[in-house]
Amino acid sequence: METNGLEHVIEVTGLRRVYGGGFEAVRGVDFTVRRGEIFALLGTNGAGKTSTVELLEGLAPPAGGQVRVLGHDPYTERAAVRHRTGVMLQEGGFPSELTVAETARMWAGSVSGARPEREVLAMVGLGSRTDVRVKQLSGGQRRRLDLALALLGDPEVLFLDEPTTGLDAEGRRDTWELVSALRDSGTTVLLTTHYLEEAENLADRLAIMHEGRIAVTGTPAEVTANEPSRITFDLPDGYHLGDLPPLGPMGVGDHTVDGRTVRLGTRDLQRSATELLLWARDAGVELGRLDVRSASLEEAFLTIAKDASAPEDNGVTTEEYAA
């Protein structure tokens, strides 16, 4: 079997999904996921993330295009794929009257090469809750039970649809550590999330979906490379934007003013910040709530949403960055 590190474990080409009412949720999506990497699908609610992942899981046939998971069509060749994948749906489904242990035992009976249930339940932190009925679990505990079942068969490919929704900060961090460890041991992970922080922390590569299409894809660094860094501050009373030094020579590409709050966009954060701070010191001005931050996924995300919803609504932006 092919084992080189660059093997494409998931290949998606021209993927489309149309629901019964005619709504086209996925409108031509292409991406590949390599063995042993974490790939994140990001997007607002309704962007088509879950609709896409369900096609990769083999729950439905695509309306168009092609999916290959481990070299096979997950829908028509399910027997070749299912015992090598683990799935965590966006909303897990377990009989509410079964205990955690009974649920895991039921699932283990249909998983090839299942690991001992107790071991996997302990991995996700449910080791002390095995005799509790599912209906008595918190939302976060249910998510972790779902994750445990997805991991029971030591899958080569793991699909996680919003794995940390409903988890508290600590649970979220635990899940991140677990998923990173799985990746390090060779598991390929495709996850969806609407937490940008999660994608930034976990993903080797990501794609941002918008209205059924992939708007941008790459490593987190590549995706944010096209975005400006941001400097935000409040000017004291009596000062106006015009009192600042000329913005262009400072490296500032765009700016917005909202009351006293000024937002500058720059591709040369160090130069712009230095010039701004030197001006403030020389002028004896205190910049309130000063915030200087590098380009982030959030920026990329907002740009995509803004471009799509209102392309002409640029406010007082002085210059558009071509992506």
Binding site: L59, R82, L89, G93, S110, G113, D146
Partner: protein, 258 residues
Amino acid sequence: MSIATTTPAGRMASLARAELTLLGRNKGALVAGLFVPLVLPLSVRSAAEEMDLAKAGLTPGELVLPAAVGFSLLFAVYSTLVGVYVVRREELVLKRLRTGELRDAEILSGAALPAVLTGLLQCLLLIAGCAVLLDLSAPSAPHLAVLGLLLGVVMSAALAAATASWTRTGESAQVTPMPLMFASMLGSGMFVPLELFPDRLASVCELLPLTPVVTLVRGGWTGGLSAGDALGALAVALAWTAVAVFAVRRRFRWEPRR
């Protein structure tokens, strides 16, 4: 892959085991499925006293036992399973199961096993009960009775999945099985043998799903069923099963409507 690969039987067994646990924890289903089919035959027994059974050539036991089998199939298998399928769908259990190695038919069959076995066990109990209380003799054509019983449980499970296809919520699952249950109780020869019906009505009622089961079980005991009538009953039961399976393949919904 040298690791322990699952088999269809193993997968269904683990699902059936979980469903059996769930059945044991569902008081409503337990009463309806276990208790009712043991009590209702008593009302058939009292109805039998007001009937001219000799005209139909039947002993009281030969009226009550097929009816009891019918009640068992309707309550312990059919209506119980409609509830199971609909509630598991609402809980998103069916959708979750479909992401794994279980195939669609294995999910529906595995989930049906506890109810099917309950129904069969109940029928054996009822036969023993009729033998002791109603002096029911040994069956003259046991193969017909066995055939009727097995066809009956398979058809009831298939009809339950078909009914679940048209049932949206757990609450409506209390109602949607009723048409078939009432039609069967009135028209399938459970309370009143079809021999006592007007001819034209009787020939329509022979086409109801549960009629062939009642006919075969009764014929198994009396031995008075001709080969042609037995084949006819067999054909009706198989046709209903085929229709139900076809409907499930076309219409069964694996997740709730949003």
